[in-house]
Symmetry: C2
Subunit: 691 residues, 2 copies
């Protein structure tokens, strides 16, 4: 249970005390670090001050004084814009006016020897402080601090898929830090440290239990558990993070023996209102409910002949008086499909279910949509639901935990994937209707919006199983704050915060991270077709693993070709769910991007790609090359021996060796499968283990 | 836990009280059933008498008197031949001389109005009594009773794969009747009833724990558990059944912290001797040890550079003073094979491991060999180890529990399969060197021999999950006693004992049973190739489920053909493990029987079978027909509505419906898989769900 590594692995990217030699602060600014002036200390500002003290003492080796009065010539001054205005005239009204609720500004007032960190709210102060510390670690020029930052997204959320028995659905880094044996864990420091890590990247919301709400977890909204939930909410509150709960739609039945959970039944509506009142009595700033309903055997409004809008609105009304939100997941499809049924296409399900409901949802309902239409595969198109809902709040759901992407035994850095999703142009209103514009609420002027992601942490000492998987958690938060940050920027920040300023170290690790997604894609399922994994646990190659199953996840490979025809002309018609010109682009195999070809089209193995290669040769080449790249990662990493501490070096090395070995298994099984089926030899004559 | 059915389901084939109207006994023999005379009552004879009383009162509605003196004109007289000689001169020395230790004779002494049941030993009396009851139920002519029966096999054994946590490895009928939550269960009546069922078919040995001996079960040979084990041994002893334990070869390490389990280490040898002494102090007639060693990660002598003979002999020496046996399993192979390695053939492993050791084993060691070289597939050749060991005791291992044959959700009556195994001519000495002659010890004059099988029972009310699966348990015992009984005879006995004398009922159920194995084979893996099941749980179709695995279980299907080349000429050389003419018969695809073709040969889909069909058309035909036959079983069974009690009727009907549905799933997946690969259409144009 949990591996014990070095303290550095636990401290993750907030490992200040290890940074001694790295960070240089020239005078006169060095003096500023002797004193922190805080205008007005709320709990959140207190967290910011503590973090700053911790960082300064770790990095510079001395503990700054903290005062609320300005009695030194040089100082770091922090507080809300309002509280700072009482101390000095450093911030102009025009500057302050640029800040939204969680925004902050940082500036150097050289003449007065002050470094100013000011937030519109205390959360802004906290985010500004973490940003300031990041700049400090990255040796940025303090003489020129002058920036205003506002979050692109209101909601920046983490979904924990933790169960109260301590297991984590799709968890690959030990057991839950929140629960064990159906009770709350006692280790509050661990939870506080998690809150710090999240807040440092700007996360401001967390749902603390699995969206599949089992019997025990159903009780989280009752008097029995609410004191404990409130205790957790208090820890997260200190870091500006609102707590949400995943709820069981059938709670009135299960908890109070009411004979229905019909959202239009007055008893049910009243029940949820009373429940909301009780929750808010314990947690005045409770975030709201996260709901998986009528999906994969979870209960929902369908049982009563109602629809998702009826279900979500009923809950929304209960939460509305308190400012609570309902986050309703759109991961709804027929999970009992007959593989022989060729008329059903799982990819179409979310759109078919939710698009017709546009405009029916209350303003405090948000629909949470997975990035792709299937389920977090290494490559999928962007879900056509983005932009299809114009009068509905949307939240993008990403998966940090690497369910289908190597389960934190493989390095697969997902920021480049998420960047593609966020930058995808849906053309919902005009050219430039990118996903990030939609989920932020900007494109359609929605009151709420944001990004959520499934956490990848557990009680492993290093949080994420694979140390380098910490980068996915860090990067998610940074992207949620600012989707326009480049992968390279985010990567550079994380690598430097985690491993310091050595140039070769930075360069090697950044390259490893940035190439890893493509490498993983290369040696796994080709050209967007997905799903060639072992059923249930989803680890390792199994080409037909989901081919004759009830999950709607097929590749249709035969001796002549492979892929799913989702065209309007001859297939399932899925392409019609996109706006033009995307619909046409995907409809035609000529214009469909290579990497999604098999998602949209069934083609012969001899079909030529834009690269000039045939599909079959592409499969062989990417698998041989992918496995080779996995092997090369080991030699790249080995160059860092002696440059980073022994524990972290050996830990990552071990994982990379496992990955390279498993990549060969992937290569050989995929190649053998397709050679046996197609009979077409590799043009380069490499070894394929055919019969 | 466990389904509750009617009492009949629980009583299985000993359901006397339900037989009222069925059984007719003409005078003068009716009077004999008023009185039972017992010469000398041992515990086992007591069991026989109780059973006979129970049967008579159930069937005839009156309770017979039991005396030890001959004071009535008509009576059933039972006892050992020796004890009976004191009562009357009914048995000639010549007759008595025909009996072996467990043999019995039955005769009608018409002049004296006596029905005699006499055994050489008290166990013979018990078996004779059960046989007498069977004849009674089957309305046989009591005026002509005159038979001598001796068992063909000394050892007739059941292997329970029960774990002490209450689970059963490969159990499909509820949880263990022996254990729950790492303790012995309290329900001794259930165990006693199981002993009755077993004894009624002649079973005389049982190993009460899983051959995979985990940590908890390792302790069964210690003072902590031996009193409980002895209690169970006592229950089975009353029914003539000796108790065995599966042991952990590493016990000296795990139980007493000795630093080795090396079979040649004096401390280890001494340790096992002390252990044997303690076991026999608790259980004087303890049967011995069943051992799975150096197989599937179980510990064994290989760790110490020793071989199986060293390991088995060391245990044999410890048990020898007490008459105990070591039953050493030959299911040994490399279970970490690389699927890319084409030089290893799992089918060869048991022979390669054990044949060279022939002559090295002590006389109280028996090698237990699975019927086929792989693992209880629906169709395999007979293991070439039978007959290859001439100076070694061999036990045939069969699997009653339907791991690969439908898991008691499908009807698959295995007696016809076992009959083929037992009748297989190995030519080890001469024509007629059948497996039954080898394992009985007759062919090579071995002191010990027999048949063992893995049980299919659990705590379900009807014992076996599927009621009709009781027939496999019954039939196994009957075959172990007399391998020359025909499938039809055994089936008729079971059907009549279980369902009575109605002609149509007998005919329908017998047909269902006798056709079911072939039907199951038809809609599952074709032509002996096996293994097309879902990994781990082994239920349901998955053609590539084991194709790229480490288990050595491949079919090598590509776009041109399928099958495993095990010939000497071009393949793994497995055929050479057989004697001539079998070796040559299997070596050539022309002479290899169709049903094993793909086990021995890789052939094109267009290869013509002896039936005139191509391989691919055979696959299509058998799968369409097999699924159709499964469907027809429902209508056949439905004819019995009203003829058998509601509970049993509905229970079987439900299972048959499930089977027919699942058979279609098998049909469609197998056909789709091969059509996609071969591209060859069904000649009859039936529906195949290709891409």
């Amino acid at each position: 249970m949990g591996e014990r590594g070095s303290g550095r692995a636990y401290e993750a990217w907030l490992s200040y005390s290890q940074r001694g030699g790295d960070v240089q602060i020239p005078n006169p600014y060095r003096q500023c670090f002797e004193h922190i002036v805080v205008a007005e200390e709320t709990d959140i500002v207190h967290s910011a001050v503590e973090e700053l003290k911790h960082a300064i003492s770790g990095i510079l080796g001395h503990m700054p004084t903290v005062t609320s009065v300005l009695d030194t010539p040089c100082a770091i001054v922090l507080g809300t814009t309002e509280s700072l205005s009482k101390l000095g005239g450093w911030i102009q009204d025009e500057e302050a006016g640029k800040l939204t609720d969680e925004g902050y500004l940082m500036k150097t007032v050289e003449t007065e020897g002050k470094l100013i960190i000011a937030g519109r709210s205390d959360r802004g102060v906290l985010y500004g402080t973490f940003h300031f510390i990041r700049r400090l670690c990255m040796n940025e020029d303090l003489s020129r601090l002058n920036m205003v930052e506002n979050p692109a997204n209101e909601l920046r959320m983490i979904n924990q898929w933790d169960n109260m028995d301590g297991s984590i659905e799709r968890g690959y880094a030990g057991r839950s830090i929140f629960y064990d044996q159906n009770r709350f864990t006692a280790d509050e420091q661990r939870i506080r440290d998690y809150a710090r890590l999240l807040a440092s990247t700007s996360i401001n919301a967390i749902a603390i239990n699995n969206v599949n709400v089992h019997e025990r977890e159903t009780k989280l909204i009752t008097a029995e558990d609410l004191p404990d939930v409130a205790r957790l909410a208090g820890i997260f509150r200190d870091y500006g993070i609102r707590l949400f709960l995943s709820i069981n739609f059938a709670s009135p039945i299960q908890l109070d023996g009411i004979d229905t959970a019909d959202p239009l039944d007055p008893r049910v509506r009243e029940w949820w209102k009373r429940r909301a009142a009780e929750i808010y009595a314990h947690i005045p700033d409770f975030g709201g409910f996260l709901v998986k309903a009528d999906s994969e055997h979870r209960p929902g409004p369908f049982t009563y002949g109602r629809d998702h809008a009826d279900g979500a609105n009923m809950l929304a009304e209960a939460l509305e008086p308190y400012g609570g939100l309902v986050i309703w997941r759109c991961f709804v499809y027929n999970c009992m499909q007959d593989w022989r049924d060729r008329s059903t296409d799982r990819a179409k399900a979310a759109f078919d279910h939710f698009q017709p409901l546009d405009g029916r949802f209350h303003s405090n309902v948000m629909l949470q949509v997975k990035n792709g239409p299937m389920d977090f595969q290494v490559r999928e198109p962007v879900s056509p639901l983005f932009g299809a809902l114009k009068k509905t709040n949307e939240v993008l759901e990403l998966q940090i935990t690497q369910e289908y992407t190597g389960q934190q035994r493989h390095l697969c850095y997902l920021i480049p994937q998420w960047k593609e999703v966020l930058a995808f142009d849906t053309y919902a209103r005009w050219k430039g209707s990118t996903v990030d514009q939609i989920v932020s609420g900007k494109l359609f002027g929605r009151p709420h919006g944001g990004i959520a992601a499934v956490s990848n942490i557990g009680n492993d000492e290093n949080w994420t199983g694979h140390l380098l998987a910490q980068a996915n958690l860090f990067g998610f938060g940074r992207l949620a704050w600012d989707p326009r940050l480049s992968s390279e920027q985010i990567t550079d920040e994380w690598v430097r915060m985690t491993f310091g300023e050595d140039t070769e170290t930075r360069s090697i690790i950044s390259c490893l991270l940035l190439q890893s997604w493509r490498t993983y894609e290369d040696y796994t399922a080709p050209l967007g077709v997905g799903w060639m994994v072992n059923p249930d646990h989803h680890y390792g190659p199994n080409v037909d693993g989901y081919e004759y199953s009830r999950w709607g996840t097929y590749h249709f490979a035969d001796r002549d070709g492979i892929g799913v025809d989702r065209t309007v002309k001859t297939g399932t018609g899925y392409t019609a769910q996109y706006y033009e010109p995307n619909a046409s682009m995907y409809e035609s195999p000529e214009s469909c991007p290579d990497e999604l070809l098999l998602f949209f089209h069934h083609v012969p193995y001899t079909h030529p790609l834009k690269s000039g290669k045939t599909v079959i040769q592409h499969i062989y080449d990417t698998h041989f090359e992918g496995a080779e790249k996995a092997e090369q990662m080991i030699s790249e990493w080995t160059k860092l021996k002696g440059k980073i501490d022994h524990d972290r070096f050996e830990h990552v090395l071990k994982r990379l060796i496992e990955q390279a070995d498993h990549a060969k298994e992937w290569r050989d099984i995929i190649n053998a499968y397709f050679y046996r089926k197609s009979g077409i030899p590799d043009r380069k004559g490499r070894t394929i283990y055919s019969f």
